[in-house]
Symmetry: C2
Subunit: 431 residues, 2 copies
C-alpha cells in the first residue's frame, strides 16, 4: 500500500512506492513508454509509464489521459538529475479520475481577452501558479512583520457611510434605505483603534470605481495599512523601509523557485535593503525639470515622472513632503512650511510606480475641522473622526501598501491583472 | 535620557528611567500624591506622581490630566507586587500631549445604543481591547495553521456577477452598467484555484443583507474558507477538528491575560481537542425529538436546537449529512442515500451556535448542471464553475469558519457586535 505523497517532498520517499494525486500537464508518447508530466499543486513531476511494468488497464489509462485530466498514480520514486525537481516516478498503476475535455488553453499564443475569459483555467499554468505563490508569500510577510513588531490586526469595515477622499470613484450600495459606499481605505478607522492598541494595521480589499484602463489599476485590490500612535513622519518612513525590505527578502528566501519560473532577475531585488534614498517633493521636481520634464511645482507625478524618479536608485525611492493641496484632507502640514504636508510615497524600482502612500495625520481638532469644511465633507459623518482629536489626540502616522503593485514589481509583471486570482477591471466582472 | 518603553515589557527596565506614551485611564488624587493608571495599548501601568520628586509644572500636569488625555511620562521602573502587571513608574516628569475634553464614556452603565454610537471611543475600554487582541490572535492562528499545512492563500473577489446562494440577501452595486453583488463566500472561486494549488484558502469580508436583528448576525463579517482537491467529507471533518482545536489552544496559550480581563472560564476551552463528537443529521433529529423538540425530518436547526445539540459535549459537535434539500446546490449527495448531502456543520459549545459549515462539493458535470437548473441559477454566469467539472474534476471539499462567532465563543460574549471594531448591523452604519 503506497502512501499519499506530494511532488514538493516526494524525495522523502526515494526508493519507495508513492501515490501522487494531480493533473496531467503534458505527455510524450513513445509507444511502450509514456512520459507524463503531472502537477499536484506543490510541483511538477515526470512519471514514466512502461507497458511491461503495469496492468494493461493502467497503461491504457496513461495512453488515454488528456491534458488536465485528473489522475491518481502510484510508482517507485527514483532520483533522476535530468528530471524537473530531481525525481521521477516509475509507475506501477494509474487511474483517471476524470478524463478532461479538450483543454481550451494550448501552447499556442492566446490573446489576453481569451485568457481572461478562461481565468479559472489559466490559473493552472506554471506562470500563474508561481505568481499566486509569490502573492501568498508577500501577504504572509506583511502580516508576520507587523505581528512580530507589536502591531495588532484590526479589521475595518468595507461598508462605510462616507467617503474618505471624494465620492466620484465610489461603489455605492443600498443599505436598508441609507447609502453605503465600499471602503477605499481603512485608515480613518485605524486612527480610532490606535488609541486602544497603540499600533494597529488593517488588511482588506479596497475599491475604486475608476473608469481607467491602465496596467497599474484594478477596481478591487488589497491594501495593508499600518497606523501608529505617537509616531511622526520619520517613524512612518522608517517603518515603510523596514517593511518593504522584509517583504522582498522573505520572498527571495522562500519563493526562489517561483521567481525562477517567472524568469525574474533577482539581482535587483537583492539590493532592496534599508536605507532607501529619500527625496523631498521639492528636490524631486527640481530633478525632473533638470531632466527636461515639463512640470510645475504642485503638479502630481505621472507614470513617466515616477519612472524617472525611481531610476535614481536600484532601491525603492521615498518621496516626502508633497504639496498640501495635492494630498488628502487629513494630512498634517509641515509646521515650518504649511504649503507642504508631512506625507510620503514609496516608488518601486524598475518603473513599477507608487507602492506606498502615507504620512502623518492631523492631530489638532480645529485644523481638522477646518479641513473637513474646506473639502466640503459631510461634517456629521466625520463627527467620530473629529472626536479622536478631542479625547487624547497624539501625533500619529501610517501608510497603505498596495499588494497587487508590490506583487507585480517583485514578480516582474507587465500588467497588474496577473497579480490576483480574479481581477476586477473595467468591464471585467467574469469569471 | 530615558528610552521609550512599553507597558507590556517595562520590567526589562527595572531600576532604570523609562518613558511611556499613552492615555490616562484613571486617577486617584491624594494631594501631594497622584496615582495615575495609564494605558499605552500594550497594557496598563500605575504611575505615581509625588510632588517633591518632579518639577512643579509636571506635577501640575499630573493634577490637571483628565481621563483619556494623551500623556508622555518618564520615571523609574519599580517592581511592585500590588501593581497591575507587577511594576509601577515613579514619575520624574509628565507632559500632557492633548488635554482631553470630558470623556463621554464613564464608569456608570451606558445603554448599548450609546456605546455603539461611541464605538470609536468604546474600543479603548479594557474589555474591548481584550476582545480585539483575541480576535487578532484567532485570525493569526487560522492563517498559521493553514499556511503551515500546505494551504496557499488565494484572495477571491468581493465584487461578483452572480449569487452563490439566492439573491434576496445580496448587497448590489452598479459596476459600470452591470450589476455586481458583494460576495457571501469565496468558495466557488477557491474551487477553481485548487486545480492550480491543491489546497487553498480565502479569507475576507463577506456580506449578507439580512433584515434580521439577532445576537449572532452581522451584515458584514469575516470568513476563512479552506478548500482541498482530492478530499472527501471525512478529510473536511478532520481538517475542521484540527483547525478549531488549534485556534482555541493558541488563544489559550498566547492571550491568557486577555481572557482573564474578559473573566472567561477557560476550563471548557481547554477541553477543545480532537476528536470532536460526530452526529449524523438523522441521529441529531432523533435525539432532539426524544428531548421533546417539535421537529420534522428535513427541518433546519434553530438556535434552541443548536444549543441542545451542543450540550451533548463540552467540545464542539460535528453534525454531518444534512438533507440535500436544505443545503446549497453544489453539495455532493451521499451516494448511498442521495436525499442526504455530504455536508457538515460544526456547533460551538455553550450555545454559541454554528461556527463552521462545509462539506464535499459536486464533482460530476451533469449532476452540477442539473442542480444549477433546478435552483434556477443563471447558467451562463456559472459557465466557468461548470467548466471546473470538465477539466480534471476531483472529489473536493472545504468549509467556511465565521471569525466573529468563533471570537464570541472563545471570549464568552453575549452578542456578536463586540467581536469586530466597527460592526455593521441593521440600521447601524455609523461610526
Amino acid at each position: 500500500m503506497a502512501g499519499r505523497a506530494y511532488v514538493e517532498t516526494v524525495g522523502q520517499h526515494e526508493g519507495e512506492q508513492a501515490t501522487i494525486k494531480g493533473w496531467l500537464y503534458n505527455k510524450t508518447d513513445k509507444g511502450k513508454l509514456q512520459f507524463l508530466l503531472v502537477r499536484d499543486g506543490t510541483g511538477i513531476i515526470q512519471a514514466v509509464a512502461f507497458r511491461d511494468d503495469m496492468p494493461a488497464e493502467a497503461f491504457k489509462a496513461a495512453q488515454q489521459a488528456t491534458q488536465e485530466s485528473s489522475i491518481i498514480m502510484t510508482g517507485i520514486v527514483r532520483a533522476d538529475k535530468r528530471a524537473p525537481g530531481g525525481y521521477e516516478l516509475a509507475l506501477t498503476s494509474l487511474e483517471i479520475v476524470q478524463l478532461a475535455d479538450p483543454y481550451p488553453i494550448t501552447p499556442k499564443d492566446h490573446g489576453v481577452g481569451f485568457l481572461m475569459d478562461h481565468r479559472h483555467l489559466w490559473l493552472r499554468s506554471a506562470r500563474q501558479h508561481a505568481i499566486l505563490k509569490v502573492r501568498a508569500e508577500v501577504i504572509r510577510a506583511c502580516r508576520d512583520y507587523l505581528d512580530d513588531n507589536g502591531f495588532v490586526l484590526v479589521d475595518t469595515p468595507i461598508l462605510t457611510p462616507a467617503a474618505c477622499e471624494g465620492t466620484s470613484t465610489l461603489f455605492e450600495t443600498d443599505y436598508f434605505g441609507e447609502s453605503a459606499y465600499l471602503a477605499q481605505s481603512g485608515q480613518l478607522y485605524s486612527e480610532a483603534s490606535i488609541a486602544s492598541l497603540g499600533k494597529v494595521y488593517c488588511f482588506g480589499p479596497t475599491f475604486r470605481a475608476e473608469k481607467s484602463k491602465t496596467r497599474r489599476h484594478l477596481l478591487e485590490f488589497w491594501m495593508v495599512e499600518p497606523e501608529m500612535a505617537y509616531a511622526d513622519l520619520d517613524d512612518c518612513i522608517e517603518l515603510a523601509e523596514g517593511f518593504v525590505a522584509y517583504i522582498v527578502q522573505t520572498v527571495l528566501d522562500r519563493q526562489k523557485a517561483q521567481l525562477e519560473v517567472l524568469e525574474r532577475d533577482t539581482t535587483l531585488l537583492e539590493k532592496v535593503t534599508p536605507p532607501f534614498p529619500r527625496l523631498s517633493y521639492d528636490e524631486a521636481v527640481a530633478m525632473l525639470r533638470e531632466q527636461g520634464h515639463d512640470m510645475e511645482w504642485g503638479d502630481d507625478f505621472g507614470a513617466p515622472e515616477e519612472t524617472a524618479l525611481a531610476q535614481k536608485s536600484d532601491k525603492p525611492v521615498l518621496i516626502h513632503r508633497f504639496p498640501t493641496q495635492s494630498k488628502a484632507f487629513y494630512m498634517e502640514p509641515d509646521p515650518e512650511r504649511p504649503e507642504l504636508s508631512l506625507s510620503v510615497d514609496c516608488l518601486a524600482p524598475e518603473g513599477y510606480g507608487e507602492i506606498i502612500g502615507g504620512g502623518q495625520r492631523i492631530a489638532d481638532y480645529d485644523l481638522l475641522l477646518t479641513r473637513v469644511k474646506e473639502h466640503k465633507l459631510p461634517e456629521e459623518a466625520f463627527r467620530w473622526y473629529l472626536d479622536l482629536r478631542r479625547y487624547g489626540s497624539t501625533p500619529h502616522s501610517g501608510f497603505g501598501l498596495g499588494i497587487e503593485r508590490t506583487v507585480a514589481w517583485i514578480c516582474g509583471l507587465e500588467h497588474i491583472r496577473e497579480t490576483i486570482s480574479f481581477p476586477r477591471m473595467l468591464h471585467r466582472l467574469y469569471p
